[in-house]
Subunit: 465 residues, 2 copies
Amino acid sequence: MTRFYLFLLLLALCPMESAFSQDNEREDVEKVGDIFDFVLSQGSSYEWLRYLCKNVGHRIAGSPGGAAAVEYCKQMLDSIGCDKVWLQEVKVPYWRRGNVAECKIINSAVVGSTPLQVCALGFSAPTPSTGISAKVIEVNSISELEKMSDFKVKGKIVFLNKPMDPTKISTFSAYGEAGAMRTMGPNIAAKKGALGAIVRSLTLKADDVPHSGVTIFDSGNEIPAVGIGIQSANNLSEILAKDPNTKVFLQLDCKKYPDQITYNVIGEIKGSEFPNEIIAVGGHIDSWDLGEGAHDDGAGCVQSMEVLRTFKKMGYKPKRTIRCVLFANEENGLRGGTKYADEAKSKNEKHIAAIESDGGGHSPRGFSMDANTDILSNAYKKTQKYREILAPYGFYELVTGGSGADIGPLKSQNVVLYGYRPDSQRYFDYHHTVNDTFENVHKRELELGAAGISSLIYLIDKYGF
Amino acid sequence: MTRFYLFLLLLALCPMESAFSQDNEREDVEKVGDIFDFVLSQGSSYEWLRYLCKNVGHRIAGSPGGAAAVEYCKQMLDSIGCDKVWLQEVKVPYWRRGNVAECKIINSAVVGSTPLQVCALGFSAPTPSTGISAKVIEVNSISELEKMSDFKVKGKIVFLNKPMDPTKISTFSAYGEAGAMRTMGPNIAAKKGALGAIVRSLTLKADDVPHSGVTIFDSGNEIPAVGIGIQSANNLSEILAKDPNTKVFLQLDCKKYPDQITYNVIGEIKGSEFPNEIIAVGGHIDSWDLGEGAHDDGAGCVQSMEVLRTFKKMGYKPKRTIRCVLFANEENGLRGGTKYADEAKSKNEKHIAAIESDGGGHSPRGFSMDANTDILSNAYKKTQKYREILAPYGFYELVTGGSGADIGPLKSQNVVLYGYRPDSQRYFDYHHTVNDTFENVHKRELELGAAGISSLIYLIDKYGF
């Protein structure tokens, strides 16, 4: 389909538009086409991601990898020719995985010693250096655990075993539904006197790769807690069904450390007409300490940097200030997003929109939107027009709802929030695992996302709210 | 989003509908939801594909692998509980790759002997057993080759080097544009006296894996012709620019054999009300003789079989006859599709619709449609309503245009043709290569396609044309 044809199609859909808006629409279709052409043929995001994954590697906030990522992204933003690049200090909680994560079935009438594939969950307590051994009690939902008497839980390892629902079309919906098993389950188990917690990995892939992720404890309530691979979880469940007296051995040497200093990395192109109106675009620079943080969220970082590079290379001077923000500590604290919003407020900055890409580097599906009710409806109507221009590039959806953890704190400042929504089918194959690597990100899919986000920002910048 | 909410949404979009159609619409939304639930939680397509890839392997029509595939798919259709399963004999051309495909740069002032990654194209002639050595002439388009004097081409190896366009959003469009370099280029070169042809692989992935595929010669005009990996193509082009006298050595032992007998594999569920109205769904059972034919087109075969299994397992009795057709010889002759349409005509069968899945096993995007002009418009309007029901499952697009090579011959019999359109970004990473393997097909993506095709057929069956 030629762009002129696309333009005619749009005209046919809205025949009452004025000549002025027709001219604008034609220019928009052209410009969006130019942006996609540029990113798909001359983009940098894929090579940036290669470096971030292969040379920096994983980068939990406050870690040496985290510092390397901050330095690399700052250098890249400098190289783009931003008007300003700076670091915003953030104090973050710091936890290290250590070297030991051993878990095995012992003392079962059904099998002998059988290893289980596990990894520590973020903020898990360590076990004593000799490990712990205990009977296991399986629960299949948070409410089942909550209703259970302390007596049944005390001195045991609680096995939180709820599969993600394969019939949910968006895997993020299935994740949302099952996620409390990991984030809340171990803390509830600890309060009932459990010695440890084993949580079924949040994935729909039938492999045996354990998934990490944060689990949240009341202070002083921490117990050892691990994610377990799906096959191991199924094995453990079957064996428990046959022999409820089965014991499990668990050994972890992860540890919490004092808070560390790291940074939000920020670069901007100053607006030519309304420099005080800011459009922010970002991802989170930290990643879990397994794999390479490729989809989560290296992809979102390099796509956000690509927006600025694309505008600079194409010689497009935005009317408003376009700011790329790579947030610290999304995975285990959200301190970067909180700090950014707090400072924006204290400096009286006016953000009109913020876009986050934190759903992986897969093919585009569309955007979500969120804002205070008094501004959402008007912004949605405007954005629906932009989405029509983007539909031929795979941006079919515009839904309302949560649009990114890091930009969430800006909502109360009357900012229109957008979340980039890629195809979700593969995301939880890799999420928080050793398999979240560069090889699993597809160049063109990553670039389509970067081009779509750039195009949305071009349109928001042109028309404002 | 609940199904009831989906239904309300559809109501809101078409408030003038009658109570009758509202009841129907509600039932349709429910039934489509049930189909997706079933396929995503109890589907067989992924395990069928595993067997077809890992135990049968590649299966060019007429080969032993081809025979194994026919037998396996027939057995699986039998196991579903079809009302009838049969084989339709097809005589197919037969060509074998052999064991040798060597290509290297020799006698260059720039480099010494440098290997190039190549594979024979389907119907390529062999070289003499000692190979051929010749100077190379590079062309970048079919028209450039056509305009070239025979004198410049004669005695040389023609290097057809046209990259696919990365700015095309659908990679199938980019493939369509560059495809003639492979299908027609070697024959044109041969007519001008070329000794051989080297064709840049039709892919956007910057690796060095050569892609095969058919090349069509006038009978008696065959010359040795290979596909070359992208990195090798770029190297060769650079070296030729520096030293136009560079020679290449080429050795191939592929060979054409007499025609062989193979089969279209067909299974059907008889319609309960209109058994003489047939809805066909299919893919092609043959694959190129590299890799495992996973995306091309094992995926389409198992999705088509899944339609029948889903209806049987859900206890749904279609009004019309639903027929699964696994076509022979799509890759190098299209004899299966031709035979099927010929026999349908001679038996006076009435097909109302035919759906083909031959675009890979990736996440759904929608459908294409094709039909004679007098019936297309009405069918398109009806289908657009069905697509609205399917949109929440990722079926966003309904476009007109070619809808599958195998079902194409049915068009003249007033059949409405549909092509399943998955996301295209990764398809040409694997297409016709050693990498078209089971591991590169994603279970849920494959199943979403199968469920969407099943749902479309449920709706066509319910309402007819």
